[in-house]
């Protein structure tokens, strides 16, 4: 047996052992056996799908695993799930953090999502406990919301009938009023219809799997927001109804008071409609949040937050979706604030809105990603700056255009192959809309501003 063959045998055995060891390491690394950890626990009424070694995530980031499940002493008690979490995330786990059992997609395995706490709350000590949020609570919340909408819609109908009765004698005004009320009613109907569909959809999902929502915080907040808005609407509707009644009480005849009343009623209705539109927007946003998820899930990435820079760049090159980009230079948008961060400078808001104007002609369901770029400093600095810039622009877009759900950010540092500067770098932001080719009714939207 020659020595070259002996060397091959050595390579074969050592290579095989290495391959095996790499596998062991990958499994061990995922289970965080090689990093410092601390333990926490959370209680749940139902631990379906959770077992030893089920993953734990903190705001979507893999953070640890379940190491034990304690069974309650008596029926009705709560299960205590013990978890091991990376020590470097300890500073985010506060006493007001919450844990929820969620799952990846319809057939996805369960995982435990931790919500980072607020800075004001103290750290959870090693071995400490968090509040567990049961999946059922979210479903309950939505059911409650549905009830609210039902009441709101009923209230609209009642008000319309009342107003029709009241103004029944005045031919000239009836038409206007009815149209007004119809508009309002339609709005309410639309909201209710949309949210009922949404609720049905969500309920179905919740029933089938344990929670579909992206993050505890995100989804719960979104639903809560919808509920708050609709409560506001109800208040507005009630107020307007009361004012109308008040006016009717003072009603004496077809004089100027009637005109005043109608104007006033119109204003009130307008405000109510605005409030309802808010609800509609938020509901749409919530829905679009899922659509947005689906968009990325379709390409093998499941959450924009989990997308790495490289993966995002790959996505930009995908030929099934055409990114439309509008480049905005930093010197016209931002100024450094004394704290080392960035703020929008004068006129920046107008520039952003102008740029958005180009993109608004595409369907609202098309996701928009605010890409942040920065060229100054070393790589860490550049990434932080670009994230800060993207966040600033996004928060403005969210306020101005109510696109919370369909808008994400991506910090890309300095490199921008397609930038109008021509040197493969960009300093500023780019608004990138992902549209399907058939939606591209107009070319040339990628021109620099």
């Amino acid at each position: 047996m020659g020595s070259p063959r002996l060397a091959l045998v050595g390579a074969f055995v050592i290579g095989g052992l290495l391959l095996f060891a790499v596998g062991l390491f990958l499994i061990g690394d995922r289970r965080l056996l090689f990093s410092e950890q601390f333990e926490i626990e959370a209680d749940f009424g139902n631990v379906a799908g959770v077992e030893i070694s089920t993953g734990v995530r903190l705001s979507g980031l893999p953070a640890g695993e379940v190491i034990g499940i304690e069974i309650p002493d008596a029926p009705g008690g709560r299960f205590v799930v013990r978890m091991r979490v990376r020590e470097d995330l300890h500073s985010l786990v506060r006493t007001d953090s919450e844990a929820a059992i969620l799952s990846d997609g319809l057939l996805g395995s369960a995982f435990i999502q931790l919500r980072a706490g607020s800075a004001a709350a103290p750290l959870v000590p090693d071995g400490g406990a968090l509040r567990g949020v049961d999946a059922v609570e979210i479903a309950d919340l939505i059911a409650e919301g549905r009830e609210t909408f039902r009441i709101a819609a009923a209230e609209m109908v009642a008000m319309r009938a009342e107003l029709t009765d009241t103004f029944g004698g005045f031919e000239a005004t009836i038409e206007t009023t009815t149209r007004l009320i119809d508009d309002l009613g339609n709005d309410a109907q639309r909201v209710t219809g949309a949210s009922a569909a949404l609720i049905d959809e969500t309920r179905g999902m919740v029933a089938e799997v344990r929670g579909v929502m992206d993050t505890v915080a995100g989804s719960q907040d979104a639903v809560q927001r919808v509920l708050n808005e609709s409560e506001g609407t109800m208040r507005a509707v009630r107020t307007s109804a009361e004012r109308v009644e008040e006016a009717i009480a003072r009603f004496t005849g077809p004089d100027s008071a009637t005109q005043r009343l109608l104007v006033e009623a119109g204003e009130v209705m307008g405000r109510a409609r605005e409030a309802m539109a808010d609800v509609a927007d938020n509901t749409e946003a919530l829905k679009r949040n899922w659509l947005f998820r689906g968009y990325f899930a379709e390409r093998g990435f499941y959450n924009l937050d989990e997308l790495t820079v490289d993966e995002y760049r790959t996505l930009l090159r995908d030929d099934r979706y055409t990114p439309l980009r509008i480049w905005l230079a930093a010197d016209r948008l931002f100024e450094a604030d004394p704290g080392g961060g960035w703020t929008l400078r004068d006129g920046a808001a107008r520039r952003i809105e102008e740029a958005m104007g180009e993109l608004l002609q595409y369907p609202r369901t098309s996701p928009i990603v605010v890409e942040g770029y920065a060229t100054a400093g070393e790589i860490g600095r550049r990434l932080l700056d670009s994230q800060a810039r993207a966040d600033l622009v996004r928060s403005h877009l969210t306020q101005a255009f109510r696109r919370a759900g369909a808008t994400g950010t991506m910090a890309l540092g300095a490199g921008a192959a397609e930038s109008p500067s021509g040197d493969g770098r960009w300093d500023g932001v780019a608004l990138t809309l992902f549209a399907e080719p058939e939606q591209l009714v107009r070319a040339g939207a990628g021109a620099a501003q």
Partner: protein, 261 residues
């Protein structure tokens, strides 16, 4: 029971008994010096290294095909995210070890059965004994040990190539990155899937080599007997290996109960 049947049954039992004694001797002699290290290395080269292209190609193809099938069924539930993890789990737990074992029992079973059979009928085994070499250690134990070393390594290669094939299929469909794929693939794997699944192939290797060696050194009837020994090696080794796999899986579930869930 007729005399003929009784004789047939007794012959079968006796032959089975001899095979068990043969296996026991292989197991015992493995740990008794002198160790035929150089010959063992040669056999690792012959049985392991030279099986690499086959195993790698098969693993890659199996990975692609399994990925496409897994994807097709998971797509209906919108669970494409689970394709890498599902493929990895199936590969590491069962498909990798079993396919690798069957391929090796085909290649090695036939090879060893025919080689030893030919050595037997051309008196080479006697010649070994005549030059004062323990032919059992020199021919059988070396092949058994080589097979037991090569199997887990080839299985690791098969698993890796399978995942590579899975990634190829996945990236063609969804453009998923290499690193992202492997991260996703390992997301559901446990040590209790990986370690026993890989190490149980040592038992497969033992069964394959012992069966082929036994049939090889008990070859009679000239060149026709050699062909017969080769064929029977493949068939017997495959069946014994699959049967042993059932027992091993039960045993592993017994030792690692969390795997059965």
């Amino acid at each position: 029971m007729s005399g003929f049947v009784r004789t047939a049954v007794v012959t079968r039992l006796a032959s089975g008994g001899r095979a068990v004694i043969f296996a026991g001797r292989a197991l015992r002699d493995m740990f008794r010096p002198p160790f035929e290290l150089q010959e063992t290395a040669r056999q690792i080269y012959e049985l392991g290294w030279r099986s690499l292209p086959l195993i790698a190609a098969a693993g890659y193809a199996v990975g692609i095909v399994m990925s496409m099938h897994t994807r097709a069924s998971l797509e209906r539930f919108g669970a494409e995210a689970l394709v890498p993890a599902g493929l990895a789990l199936a590969l590491v737990r069962e498909t990798g070890p079993l396919v690798c074992g069957l391929l090796l029992s085909g290649r090695v079973g036939a090879g060893v059965g025919a080689e030893l059979g030919a050595m037997k009928v051309t008196e080479q085994i006697d010649a070994l004994e005549a030059v004062a070499v323990d032919s059992f250690k020199f021919l059988v134990v070396t092949r058994v040990v080589a097979c037991m070393i090569a199997m887990p390594i080839l299985t690791a290669v098969m698993n890796f190539m399978g995942m590579l094939g899975g990634w190829t299929a996945e990236s063609a469909v969804s453009g998923m990155g290499f690193e992202a794929y492997f991260r996703a693939a390992f997301s559901l794997l446990q040590f209790s899937d990986y370690v026993p699944g890989t190490l149980k192939t040592m038992v497969f290797g033992f069964i394959i080599a012992v069966t082929a060696s036994y049939l090889g050194v008990h070859t009679s009837g000239g060149t026709q007997g050699v062909g017969y020994a080769a064929t029977r090696s493949v068939v017997t080794a495959s069946i014994l290996m699959i049967a042993a796999n059932v027992v091993l899986v039960r045993l592993i579930f017994f030792v690692f109960p969390e795997m059965a869930e």
